[in-house]
């Protein structure tokens, strides 16, 4: 087991036996990812590393969650803030599956509606958007029906 850990040293955080490794998270969004996935509210063992070197992202972060396997609709919530994140599903120290995140069809919470006259910006309401276009990302507000896109997209 010790040798296995050594092999994985390049990850700079210790290996897990069973669970999920989420890699290529932009370092600045690490805590947002933790909060969106509710990792701050579960009992599982979690290790994370941040400000690690990464060619394409600048500083990246990585999260390892023991005994946790995400459903697509759970993990896709982070697509907006970690579009290049990928998941390694670990069983008995081995990567048994790799997955990438995908922008979901509906986005609940996370993003603010750009329209100052929208009810969601004037009362405590969880926002809800239909994704009308993924690239460039265009979101239609369920409430005011206006499109929030491009640089208008702001997270809570």
């Amino acid at each position: 087991m010790k040798e296995n850990t050594k092999k994985k040293l390049k990850l700079k955080v210790s290996a897990i036996k069973d669970g999920t490794v989420i890699d290529h998270i932009p370092a600045k969004n690490l805590f947002k990812v933790i909060s969106i996935l509710g990792l701050d509210k579960i009992e599982n063992q979690i290790t994370f590393g941040t400000n690690l070197e990464s060619g394409k992202l600048g500083a990246k972060a990585i999260i390892k969650v023991t005994d946790k396997f995400f459903k697509d609709n759970e993990i896709n919530k982070i697509a907006l803030i970690a579009p290049h994140a990928n998941l390694n599903i670990i069983k008995d120290y081995k990567v048994v599956e790799k997955r990438i995140v995908e922008i979901p069809d509906v986005i609940k919470g996370i993003v603010k509606c750009f329209n100052p006259k929208c009810i969601t910006n004037n009362e405590t309401i969880t926002t809800c958007f239909k994704v009308v276009l993924k690239e460039p990302l265009s979101l239609k507000c369920r409430y005011c029906e206006k499109i929030t896109s491009g640089e208008q997209i702001k997270m809570y």
Partner: protein, 302 residues
Amino acid sequence: MKKDLISITDYSKEEYLKIMKLASEFEENPNQDLLKGKVVASLFFEPSTRTRLSFETAINRLGGKVIGFADPGSSSASKGETLHDTIKMVSNYVDLIVMRHPLEGAARYAAEVSPVPVINAGDGANQHPTQTLLDMYSILKTQGTLDNINIFMVGDLKYGRTVHSLLMAMSEFENPIFNFVAPYELQMPNEYKIFLEEKGIKYFEHKEFNDIISEADIIYMTRVQKERFPDPIEYEKVKNVYILRNSMLEKTKANLKILHPLPRVNEIHSDVDSNKKAYYFTQALNGVFTREAIITHTMNLK
């Protein structure tokens, strides 16, 4: 499942046609006690005497009772109560909520909070579906059909919610033709043009407002409001360009009717009023029958 009416696209084509049929029945016989024993909340978080009186007349003609408020000053919202709490409270008392609110999306949210159906009587610049249904009823009544209609939309096509909703609804019918007449600043937004292109529906854009209207079946006039222009000089340039005058109607089709959601400012000259093609005052009366139809449909009474 309850049948709210928040956006015009909440209804299918079949529902549009059902509302049209019911509206003509109510026009024949406006007083029907279908709402007897029912209480309807009329919540106007933003004053609109015209729309409120139309709805309350419809409710009264159906034999229902109305509670509510006509302006935000007399509502609990003025004491800082959230929309959520107002709707939770009121929906315990009534069988139906009719509401107007200055914020966009307020009606959709209210419908989520409320166990009784909600009819949107206007949410900011977003939606005003009962206006659209009464516009459609006016078109059907004067043209005998909702198919093959050539509609000229004139004035503020950018912010005018009534033209957007009418465009969406009329696109459900056979072979409509849309003509957009607007200054550059107030053109029909791209998303609607793309929508028409995807549906294969013809539209034409014009800057000039003159004899191009000879082919029109319907001219839908809207207000060009000064506050829509970032530069007041631009407003001064166009404010008199999009005015309909009686002299312009000489070479138009015999079946042409002129609609306007009202109130108007100066975009229809008063010399048009006596022309039999002027329909905007009758259009307003159609609102009562259309709203009687919408209420009975919403409450599964017909």
